[in-house]
Symmetry: C2
Subunit: 194 residues, 2 copies
């Protein structure tokens, strides 16, 4: 059964080891910020720093593993119709919208949505890590190190599939940052199989 995350909102749910999570971009050019915590000990969490080190790359796709801060496998990308995601940037937040967009009454952003959705699972907001930003397109200039946030490469209906390597709590959003989604707020769909 396909679940809907309405625009500018987020959810959290458990994914059992071996289950597959399909993240779908129903309209195209939308981003889903995803975080994962060990379901029995939420102090263990996905880590961009560990993942980049073990993968020896910053762009991840089919076959790549998302590692925890304890160097254990949490999720594997098993199918990927898009091929470009971001694991550099923290979730958008009210503070980010103030600093980078100049908003005076900012939205709570993916960070606020993850904070609220993960609260029942005992996750401290300060422990929400840099998210794996599904479909987010952030090219890096290898010479200068500069990065830009570009429209996602995802077309309507494209999806990426993750297999859980341990029981995890997933936080997942329909991103609230205009720069990430070409300035149209859209839903994200997802499905759990297995």
């Amino acid at each position: 059964m396909t679940e809907v995350i309405p625009p500018q909102s987020g959810v959290a749910f458990e994914l059992k080891a071996g289950q597959r999570l399909t993240v779908i971009d129903p309209m195209g050019q939308q981003v889903a910020d995803m975080v994962a915590f060990n379901a029995v000990d939420v102090a263990e969490v996905i880590s961009s720093g560990r993942t980049f080190d073990y993968a020896s790359k910053i762009y991840l796709s089919t076959g790549d593993v998302l590692y925890s801060n304890r160097s254990r496998e949490m999720l594997t990308i098993v199918e990927d119709e898009v091929g470009r995601h971001d694991f550099l940037l923290a979730p958008c937040s009210a503070e980010m919208f103030r600093k980078l967009y100049g908003h005076t009454e900012p939205h709570k952003g993916c960070f606020g949505n993850l904070r609220d959705a993960l609260e029942p699972f005992g996750v401290d907001p300060d422990a929400i890590p840099t998210a794996f930003n599904v479909f987010m397109n952030v090219p890096v200039n290898g010479q200068t190190g500069t990065l830009t946030v570009e429209p996602p490469l995802s077309k309507a209906g494209d999806s990426t599939v993750f297999r859980a390597e341990m029981d995890v709590i997933i936080g997942l959003t329909a991103c609230s940052a205009g720069m990430s989604n070409n300035f149209k707020f859209k839903p994200i769909h997802y499905r759990i199989d297995g």
Copy 2:
């Protein structure tokens, strides 16, 4: 007064707002993993994800600010004789030495050294973030996203200076990973002024 961090070890200390920390590579081609926590609430910690977003780049040098997970300024790079540091990779650890180097009786690494040095300050090991790796040279291929760990650009006596923007607890190491320091374990020196 210049302090010495012996090879393959680490320290932690408080740096008051406005004080300057000079990190010195006395022999050249050595790396110092650095983390920072709010001294009055160690749940606030440097964040590569927030910093990359606000800087719009992954290579940081003079004038750039290291932000916390709460989007506040923690440290500013005020002088930099080297100009290339890494903020992508998590500290080397026993698990990393097993996975990437094939060591069967691995060193505890910068992670173990930071864990031990920060324990008296009440820092949970799981909360040690991706470090700002002073002098570490990790070029990224912007097309493929692949990264390599290369010898540091630092020459004997080179230094980088950080100004504290709030009272912080600093964790600092002389890196234990051969690939980071051209396979020679060397000390790191540091000095606090102000």
